[in-house]
């Protein structure tokens, strides 16, 4: 029997195609030219040429967040690889499955400070789930398969593979051999919750008088939204979402009490503070949620469900830890509730809801309407955007005030609709992420909500959008400043606006046009709805909507630093 031999570059591409990879986001350079040559000769994997490697990582990331599949990146050694660092860190912080293939100088030159040599495995070590140095051509297919397995199972995350050029070039060859099954003796993510912990959890939940369910990005990643809804309804419990967890339950659901944390709703933070039992599902008690950990919900019994044991009792001590995949654990909880014939204690439940509704009635997510002829309020733009898209768009955000306004004023009905860099807070994420989403769902409305600062961090991708016809709708809440920075300077630094102005903004309309797109500027409220409708009616061209908004607006509510979770400014000068 004759065996077919392949170069390392061919093995890479064959492995990707065997793993059903549709798109590879990348940028060529010396050490990966053999892979580019191999890509040229086949049809299975389509390469998307970005304009900066950081954008390739965010594009792959957006694609992964919207589809749940692994996003795949290809970069050359040295500067190509280091340009990926921010995108890898972004994916790491939000647990996004991603595989980054990086070139490396030939094996014989490693360590010599060869041209375009950087130790990318070393550089990325603190921000990856795992990484591989490839040193033997025959290992290539199995290393790639392992990388996909690790990236997408357990708590997902980015995996980096370093491929030295001599392993890719003609000269060495090997058979394409993929193990039928991936086995790793040192990696077996726990999936099911321990039955004793499930029983304890259900006991705590059913005895609670003031239960709150607090859910995060884990629900989205585990595709557990329907199960979560069933649990919420079974218990008639109030539910709050983290910034990463929005869409985990419909933003329109009666039991949804809004986002919690730094810019969360009054009712969400109050409910947490007054709860006697908190059921945390796929959330990690991030400091942007807890505020001062020393004052965090002292009277609550905390049931913490997470796939990652390190997340449990890291910042907030869990009384009942449950390690497992959150979808499976919710099923276990539901089964246990069924088994114990659980019935809601109507009296307690009603009292609790009555209290919550009082907080709700304070309408903390609100803003002062425009005065006649005044500037457009940024919140109003989000509401208009919601109307114009029937609430059905994918909303990919950059980082700043606009991000918080979008999180507060666009109720997401479904998981994966809201795509943002929550953990790292990466400005420049929005546009490439939206492009990745558009690749996956070309027929859906895909919005990039951004600011005049963030958009300029990856603006070069307008060119990629042109090349691949990616008609995303960019809505920039242009406040002529680094709004979120300025807000902190107003509130904490005596109004000294140190380097938070954008004093030389480009003409965004002309800029969009110069890339062959459509630019629209909106600067009065009268034209907001109409012009947005126009923008969304254009299906086959990218539209850049530059909305001039009130630069004085702050994001409220806002937690008061060092305070408890529910100590907040409701609006300027008004404490909760």
């Amino acid at each position: 029997m004759s065996t077919e031999l392949h170069t390392g570059a061919e093995l890479v591409v064959k492995a990707l195609s065997a793993l059903k990879v549709k798109y590879l986001f990348g940028y060529p350079g010396g050490t990966v030219l053999d892979i580019y040559d191999a890509l040229f000769k086949q049809q299975d994997v389509e390469h998307i040429l970005v304009r900066h490697e950081q954008a390739a990582t965010h594009m792959a990331d957006g694609y992964a967040r919207a589809t749940g599949e692994v996003g795949v990146v290809l970069a050359t050694s040295g500067p190509g690889a280091t340009n990926c660092i921010t995108g890898i860190a972004t994916a790491y912080m939000d647990s996004i499955p991603m595989v980054v293939l990086s070139g490396q100088v030939p094996t014989g030159l490693i360590g010599d400070d060869a041209f375009q040599e950087t130790d990318i495995v070393g550089c990325s070590r603190p921000i990856v789930k795992h990484s591989f140095n490839c040193r033997d051509i025959s290992e290539i297919p199995n290393i790639i398969a392992k990388a996909f397995y690790i990236a997408s199972t357990g708590r997902p995350g980015p995996v980096v593979i370093e491929l030295p050029k001599d392993l890719l070039m003609p000269g060495q060859s090997a058979e394409f051999l993929l193990d039928a099954e991936i086995k790793m003796r040192s990696y077996n993510p726990t999936v099911k919750g321990h039955h004793r912990q499930i029983k304890k959890a259900v006991q705590a939940i059913t005895q609670a008088k003031r239960l709150v369910i607090y859910s995060g990005g884990g629900i989205i990643i585990a595709n557990a939204a329907e199960l979560l809804q069933a649990l919420v309804e079974k218990l008639n419990a109030p539910i709050t979402n983290t910034l990463m967890g929005l869409g985990g339950i419909s933003g329109l659901h009666d039991n949804f009490i809004g986002m919690l944390g730094m810019h969360g709703s009054l009712e969400a933070n109050k409910a947490m503070a007054h709860a006697d039992v908190i059921l945390a599902l796929g959330a990690r008690f991030d400091d942007r949620v807890t505020n001062n950990v020393k004052k965090f919900c002292p009277n609550a019994t905390i049931v913490h469900v997470d796939i990652d044991p390190t997340s449990i009792s890291k910042t907030i001590n869990a009384h009942i830890p449950v390690v497992g995949l959150v979808d499976i654990v919710i099923k276990q909880l539901l089964a246990e509730l069924e088994e114990t014939n659980y019935l809601i204690n109507q009296e307690n439940n009603q009292d609790w809801w009555q209290q919550i509704n009082q907080w709700r009635n304070e309408k903390s997510i609100s803003y002062e309407n425009e005065v006649e002829g005044g500037k457009i309020k940024p919140q109003r733009v989000i509401q208009a955007m919601y109307q114009a898209t029937n609430g059905e768009a994918y909303v990919c955000s950059d980082v700043g005030q606009h991000q918080m306004f979008a999180a507060q004023y666009y109720p997401f009905a479904k998981p994966r609709q809201w795509i943002n860099s929550g953990g790292l807070g990466t400005m420049g994420f929005g546009l490439p992420a939206a492009m990745g989403v558009k690749m996956a769902f070309p027929d859906s409305h895909v919005i990039c909500i951004t600011g005049d600062g963030s958009i300029q961090m990856n603006i070069q991708e307008l060119s990629t959008c042109m090349q691949y016809n990616l008609p995303v709708v960019i809505i920039s809440l242009n406040n002529r400043s680094l709004g979120m920075v300025r807000q902190w300077q107003d509130m904490v630094y005596g109004g000294r606006h140190s380097s938070s102005y954008m004093e030389s903004l480009p003409d965004f309309v002309k800029l969009a046009e110069s890339y062959g797109h459509i630019g629209i500027q909106i600067n009065s409220l009268d034209e907001l709805d109409e012009k947005l409708a126009q923008a969304f009616a254009i299906k086959n061209q990218l539209v850049f909507v530059d909305v001039l908004v009130d630069e004085k607006e702050h994001v409220y509510p806002m937690q008061i630093r060092t305070g408890a979770i529910d100590e907040m400014w409701i609006k300027k000068g008004v404490k909760a």
Binding site: S131, N133, R135, M184, R185, S186, Y187, P309, T310
Partner: protein, 166 residues
């Protein structure tokens, strides 16, 4: 509180740097660290002496366990265990008086003089950290210490308990 952690991990390029990196990245403390392949050459065993309260230790153990190439980690200090460290120390032994004194101290601590030079003795001693510290202090009172090296501690559980791949 001082703890001794034993880690069994894949003997692969980069696995040690992941452990060391993790400790520095998360501001955990390494008092000493030793590493070597085990009888099964595909596995390495690391012993780390560290310091921290229960909460920090819980995080260390969980974080190390989370690394993909770690098979097992255990806190030896939780149970009865044996710990040993090797000391090689070179001291000044210029005249008869200091030579006899150094020899006498070495004997009392059950060490061994393993090399001599014109004016120096090199001594080997094994034991736990306390014993080594006491030995060094005693020597320092008697003569001048020229050089010393400690292996960092290794440890193993007493009795049937064992740290193995399967």
């Amino acid at each position: 509180m001082r703890r001794i952690l034993a880690i069994l991990l894949e003997n692969e390029a980069g696995s040690l740097s992941r452990i060391v990196g993790l400790f520095s990245q998360r501001a955990f403390n390494i008092v000493s660290l030793t590493v070597a392949p085990t009888e099964d050459a595909s596995l390495s065993r690391i012993t780390i002496a560290t310091e921290g309260d229960d909460k920090i230790l819980e995080q260390i153990v969980k974080q190390v366990n989370k690394l993909i190439d770690v098979l097992k980690i255990t806190d030896l200090t939780e149970r009865q265990h044996v710990e040993r460290e090797l000391l090689l120390i070179k001291v000044l032994a210029m005249n008869d008086k200091s030579r006899t004194e150094v020899k006498r101290i070495t004997d009392i601590f059950r060490g061994a003089i393993i090399d001599i030079g014109k004016q120096v003795y090199t001594i080997q001693l094994t034991g736990d950290a306390d014993k080594l510290n006491a030995f060094i202090n005693t020597l320092a009172n008697e003569t001048e210490i020229i050089e010393s090296v400690r292996s960092g501690c290794v440890g193993i559980a007493r009795g049937e308990k064992a740290l193995r791949a399967k």
